[in-house]
Symmetry: C2
Subunit: 219 residues, 2 copies
DNA sequence: ACCTGAACACCGTTCAAGT
DNA sequence: ACCTGAACACCGTTCAAGT
């Protein structure tokens, strides 16, 4: 019964890292609390000092994935001309899809998982309540969707877009992106590398057409 | 040890019906093989004569949901003017979102569930392998996505749409619809009836704008 | 305060035995 | 051929006991 006390945040991220490796190895279905704690070198019960349930751990992994992607995009957007709203929109769309594809294995493994109806699942242990399918698209919860909503609202205010309802538009385009990325990830696993690269390029190209025509039809 | 032999298709749909009731009552997380077989009044082992796993049962429920929706839509589309391609597209989009919302409880419960990485899960017992997230959008697998692809391809060929790549467009718009329906379903559970009705109408209205501007920008 | 790990409880799946 | 249900195996979660 050795005891190794660690800074709580460090311990928490150890558990997340271990879980992420397992998810990449065997998928969400192969994730067990037993193996998470074994890889993180703590006792099984310690898991429940940092996460309310296995379900909440998955939520925290999803949050981390989306937050990392959003941070990378924000850095890239800062290098674009501030007044080029269409450029910012097209960049958001293309780099989001490509960003998901670049981490296809993790994205695919993470973003298909069970939802418990557990009514008592309020966020209370740290941050780590997942953005799930559905409110995933909610700009008030998901920073990635919020970045898109910002572009559409500011661009409309600036007269670059002619959108009747930029908030609704953000919901639509966020889901266009996310569902399409899911689809391309699965196709990539099914097809040869060559033919799926063609599909990816064709669909991304068409997604940019969609953005252009939808946001600025008078352009 | 009483034995009640039934026509296999009947038994199978009894199990599906029982599972659907449970999913509506307690969600996917609350679904157990034990309770499915209890409600269908068969022994636990009988379940595995009709489904390879609990996972495959969920896939079969999803298939049934999508097939029912598609059949209803097809009947409605037959009443539209055959040459009115934009009308058909707008109808597909609006009735799909509203169709999902009308069965929000079942749709929400069904379309968020785990994927096993089980490499041995080939469809072999009857039909009932699920269309999952990802290839869900594949028109060759999902009849609902196929209906949209048909409209876009035929409408483009007829000159009503000016789409560079109707197949890619179908993937994009299918995901716009599906993700947005997911989002609206979850919002509906979160908000009061009044405010969510407003949101639904605003988002649907904007989705029709998107279809109009995207498919027929010269119109 | 933080950590341990044995014990418990709950299913998914199998299979030898029934009709 | 179709069905049964006890038994097995596998985890998620808890909690009394350690430092």
């Amino acid at each position: 019964m050795r005891k190794r006390t660690e800074a709580p945040e460090r311990r928490r991220s150890d558990l997340l890292d271990a879980a992420q490796r397992i998810v990449l190895d065997k998928g969400v279905a192969g994730l067990t609390v037993d193996e998470v704690t074994a890889r993180a070198e703590v006792a099984k019960g310690t898991f429940y000092l940092y996460f309310r349930s296995k379900e909440q751990l998955l939520g925290a992994l999803q949050d981390r994935f989306v937050d990392d992607l959003t941070a990378r995009q924000r850095a890239e957007l800062d290098r674009l001309d501030a007044g080029d709203w269409m450029g910012r929109l097209l960049h958001w769309m293309e780099s989001s899809i490509r960003g998901y594809l670049a981490h296809a294995d993790l994205h695919d493994a993470l973003f298909h998982h069970p939802r418990s109806e557990d009514p008592a699942s309020q966020p209370s242990i740290g941050h780590g309540q997942a953005a799930r399918h559905g409110h995933e698209a909610d700009p008030t919860i998901n920073t990635h969707a919020a970045a898109l909503a910002d572009i559409l609202e500011a661009g409309t205010a600036a007269g670059a877009f002619t959108l009747a309802n930029p908030r609704a538009a953000a919901i639509l385009l966020y889901n266009t992106m996310h569902g399409t990325a899911d689809y391309l990830v699965e196709q990539a696993q099914r097809e040869t590398t060559d033919s799926s690269t063609n599909l990816v390029d064709a669909v991304i190209s068409e997604s940019l057409n969609l953005c252009r025509r939808y946001a600025e039809p008078t352009g």
